[in-house]
Symmetry: C2
Subunit: 300 residues, 2 copies
Amino acid sequence: MKHALGIDIGGTKIALGVVAENGSIQANTTLPTDSRLGFKSAVQRMGQAARMLFQSSGTPVTNLAGIGVGCTGPVNPLTGVVDNPHTLPGWDGCNLIDALSAEFNLPTWLENDADVAAYGEYHFGAGEKADRLVMLTFGTGVGGAAVLKGEIYRGAGGGHPELGHLPVTNDGPLCYCGRKGCVESFASGPAIASAASEMGFNSVDAVFAAETDNVSASKVLMDARDAIAAATWSILHGFLPDRIVFGGGLVDAHPAFFVDAARAAISRARLLDTTAVSVAPARLGNLAGLVGAARWAIDQ
Amino acid sequence: MKHALGIDIGGTKIALGVVAENGSIQANTTLPTDSRLGFKSAVQRMGQAARMLFQSSGTPVTNLAGIGVGCTGPVNPLTGVVDNPHTLPGWDGCNLIDALSAEFNLPTWLENDADVAAYGEYHFGAGEKADRLVMLTFGTGVGGAAVLKGEIYRGAGGGHPELGHLPVTNDGPLCYCGRKGCVESFASGPAIASAASEMGFNSVDAVFAAETDNVSASKVLMDARDAIAAATWSILHGFLPDRIVFGGGLVDAHPAFFVDAARAAISRARLLDTTAVSVAPARLGNLAGLVGAARWAIDQ
């Protein structure tokens, strides 16, 4: 069976693992990202950690098919260059493909983190190899990705579409995406936290806990629910996917809220045959990116 | 060079043509649909008309690669069955593939009319073989289709997504699609006509004519403009296509209004590299479906 090194780079943590073709993780670990220490430091630390994983899993580097990297975007999968000054300050213009392929002398592929997470769920999780899979992740932001016929979907110039910024309304808060009233501006963790705080709740979790029998809690969550419904409607009428998967921290904590809002929207659709469309919460948690990135490298 | 018979079936008219692989129309004609006369009558009349076209174009039926049919949906491209009681009353459950392939003893393919129109624009019109093409048509309704890497995009169960029903707002008029505030409910011909009439205009054309220097005319068109912007934003953040094409009667009459609204939306997008994304009005008018259907049959 083939193996690859999977790396999932977020703003806070870097997860690394030696992953088999069937998705089983032979060994894995995490590091702090600390991007401000510089790109060179991060590459060195990833190199050290990976070498320990090769040893503990008994997988010599020469037995690996390659390295798959998922990284918080924007990244350019064609060139390998990182362009994310907000989440990865200090790495602007650095080339992950060049650096990591030089470190290990292995073929290296870079993708947006939402794309590899969807690819992981497609092969080993809630995606269940659906012909057309769309995944949204709800956390600090709202991200998304599509896997069509087993391939990560890329847009013009190889770019990653941004499904978290589909429109919900024409008004609402102005988002950094350039539009008022997109999904992220209503259904991200910070958006819900801000609405919760205005209504006197201490935390997002407090609102979810009180939802069923507290009018203000239910009101706080109404905008989020409408945003999930609108996103689902857009995805349904745009892609008509076989499977919609919701992941991310907010969904891990409150899966029924997200899945139910989407299913309710789908049940109202009159123009489409939705019998083949299903919605499921992600199954791989924060390991989706790691296994997805590794499998992507194996499949190239 | 290969040739095929292209047929484009609408609620009012049926267009037929003998079309070459390069898109040139050797001979074409139109019939009234008159679906209430029954399916058998329509198949006979299509048969007669096609045989005249074979003769006038000097193309014996044995030289044809096949028959491509675009039909106002819902249709099932896998089985050939028509399921559109509103636009094609009397044809429910009838099988276009079976009937037409029996009539001519030729391999026959059926697609949604928006799909073959997009395929026609992709090969011979404003699509210019863009890797990812999304087309919207604005007329009595708002339709849409995507052609990805040269293939008509189909959703779950082979179904045709309905891009004309992407969300614009959470309120607004309830559409027969099952949701309030979708694109069609603001930007179709009847939607604009109804807003125009409320403001005392006689016609949609009168509103467009007065738009630049009449406040009420500009107000009537504001909802349509917002809907085009929202649809563009959804398509951009969902598909990140290389090319967006707008067609249909309303766009043929007022191309700048539609194209400008979309370009303004694209220019506001901050998270995507939109340098490779362009918008263009359709170039083939109401012949797009005919040539697209024929070319689709040739390519299968």
